[in-house]
Every structure is written in structure tokens, then in C-alpha cells.
Symmetry: C2
Subunit: 186 residues, 2 copies
């Protein structure tokens, strides 16, 4: 369960995971460019994974999972009138089918309710109940506390750089997957 990470510092002052490097060198025989790419990717993936686990654990006391929390905040933020399930999916960058499941669970917990959309009989509006509003508010405090505690490790300049670099990566990925999608559809 405990991660086998061992953090060390480059001669240039850059942090890296020494045990990952040893393993990857020994077993996969990566070096140079490939090693650096693998290390950068690994650290990216592990950081988000661990952050997710912390959010999950911290929210557990409130009786909501992290996924439910994200959906609840999204619904809550759309206002008292609620919104279509669809909008939630788009905002969360997730499939509509997934939102159905999340809302199922949130509804079972009494934090959210489904209402038919009077303007479109295909659609259903989902809105937070009073309990959902309260849970969302508590969750938000927890979430912001964790964010401050963990992301606060980075200075403003570092935060900007991290945002810049991962956004650059994200942009590249979305460009190529859009290209692939076009290729497949055409």
C-alpha cells in the first residue's frame, strides 16, 4: 500500500523519483529522452492519482464520494432552478451515461432530485435539495482546505508554470485526438 517513492534532487535542482528511475532503467532500459518523458509522465499521473485519493478520503466523512461531490458542486452551481443532466456531463467532461449513475447515487442519498423539464420533455432537470446544498457547502470547505494545504506547497510562480505546462500538454492531446476523430469519422 505504501508507495515506493524516494524523492531526490537532480544536479540541476529538479526533483525526481529515484526508485522509479532505478526500476525503469533496470527493467525497461529507458534512457535519455525516453527516460525523461517517462519520468515526467509518471510524476504527472501519480500526482493526480494521489490528490484524487486525498480528496476521496477527506470527503468520506461527509458521506459523499469525490465523483459525487464534483457532480453535486456542478449541479449546485447551476443555481436553484437546476439544469439538464447533459450540461453536467459537459461541464465535468464526462459521458452523459456517467452522470446518470452519479445522479442515481446522489438522489438515493437525498442530495439531489430529478424533475421533468417542462420546456423539453426528453430532458430531466436535476437540482440540489436542501440537504444537497448543505453537503455541498461542507464539501467545498473541505475541498478548499485540501487544495490550500497541498497545492499551497507551490509558489504562485510555480503554480503558473504547472498550469502552463499541463495546459500545453492538454492542448496538444486534444488537437491530436480531434484529428483522430476526424480521421475515423471521415
Amino acid at each position: 500500500m505504501l508507495p515506493p517513492s524516494r524523492f531526490e534532487t537532480d544536479e540541476a535542482g529538479y526533483l525526481y523519483d529515484a526508485s522509479f528511475r532505478e526500476n525503469i532503467a533496470k527493467y525497461a532500459r529507458l534512457e535519455g529522452d525516453k527516460l525523461l518523458r517517462a519520468e515526467a509522465f509518471r510524476s504527472l499521473v501519480m500526482a493526480t492519482k494521489r490528490l484524487d485519493q486525498v480528496f476521496e478520503a477527506e470527503l468520506e466523512n461527509l458521506g459523499v464520494t469525490y465523483g459525487q461531490y464534483k457532480a453535486l458542486m456542478c449541479i449546485k452551481n447551476f443555481g436553484v432552478g437546476g439544469t439538464q443532466m447533459n450540461n453536467v456531463a459537459e461541464f465535468l467532461s464526462v459521458t452523459p451515461r456517467n452522470v446518470t449513475g452519479l445522479v442515481d447515487n446522489l438522489e438515493a442519498a437525498g442530495l439531489v432530485e430529478r424533475v421533468p423539464d417542462p420546456a423539453d420533455r426528453r430532458a430531466t432537470i436535476v437540482r440540489a435539495t436542501a440537504a444537497g446544498e448543505a453537503a455541498g457547502a461542507r464539501g467545498r470547505r473541505v475541498h478548499e482546505a485540501v487544495m490550500a494545504k497541498l497545492m499551497g506547497i507551490l509558489s504562485e510562480e510555480e503554480m503558473l508554470q504547472l498550469r502552463h505546462l499541463s495546459t500545453k500538454l492538454l492542448r496538444a492531446v486534444e488537437e491530436v485526438s480531434a484529428g483522430d476523430r476526424r480521421k475515423t469519422n471521415g
Copy 2:
């Protein structure tokens, strides 16, 4: 399905997702520190999510999922003798229960086989079959091509910074979750 990202550049030259910023400002009313933290976190999460999806999609032609590929490479890299399931779990930073499932699927696909460990009758050794070796080699070529194409967007200096920053974050997260674990167990 298409993500609503709109990438723009700061006055300082840093990339950010303009539509996320608009939404977060409008609905969640975040600003200053909190906004920057949320943006950095979001870009981190989205980048890894999209990268994962690309790997998943590219490996689909080979008949293995991304999770199966990671497990297969790990098993394969331990050598022809194979290794205990446990080691795979630790290397992948994943629960043993998860490895059971992954190996179930890999075994059903004929890429891997289970063998009792003569040295420890509790344990089972898992090792790659010939088909598994071949699939692993093909998968690795695909994986490295995607890595080169997408991570190659970043210069060496940027890659080092990204590794540094996400490792710094990772280290912080692991420190606090180790602390929490200690608290819970005591």
C-alpha cells in the same frame, strides 16, 4: 463529447483554459489564489485524463486495455521467471485485488499465465506467455510513439520543470497522507 476548452495566453505568457476560468468565475466565484489553484489542478487532471484516453484508444487495436498493458509490461519486465502478483501491485501503485482482476483478464486473453510459487505456497507467480511477450513488444512501440508525439510537445527544459513540479506536489501529498495514516492507525 467534445471538450469545451478554449486555450488562451496570459499577459505573462502562461497558457490557461479560458472557458474553465469563465465558468469557475461565474458559478463558483473563485478568484486570486483559489482560482489559480483550481486552474492548475484542473489542467493537471485534464491532461492526465486525456493522455490516458489516448493510450487507451491507441492500444485498442492490439486488443489490450491500457490497464492490462501496464500490468503486462510490468510482469514482462520482471523477466522470464515471472514474479508474485504482489510485486506487480506494488510496482503499479495499485491494490493487490486490482492485480487479481487485471491478471484474470490477461490470462483469459492468453497473454499471461499463473504458476504456483514453489518457495511460498500462499503466493502465485504470474509470467508472460509467448503471445504476451509479443503483445507487450507491440504495445511498447505504440506507447513510445504516443509518448514521443504528445510529450514531445514540451522541450527538455519544460519536461524537467513539469517533472519537478508534479514530483514536488506528489511528495507533499504522500507526506500528508502518510501523516493521516499514522493518525488513523494510532
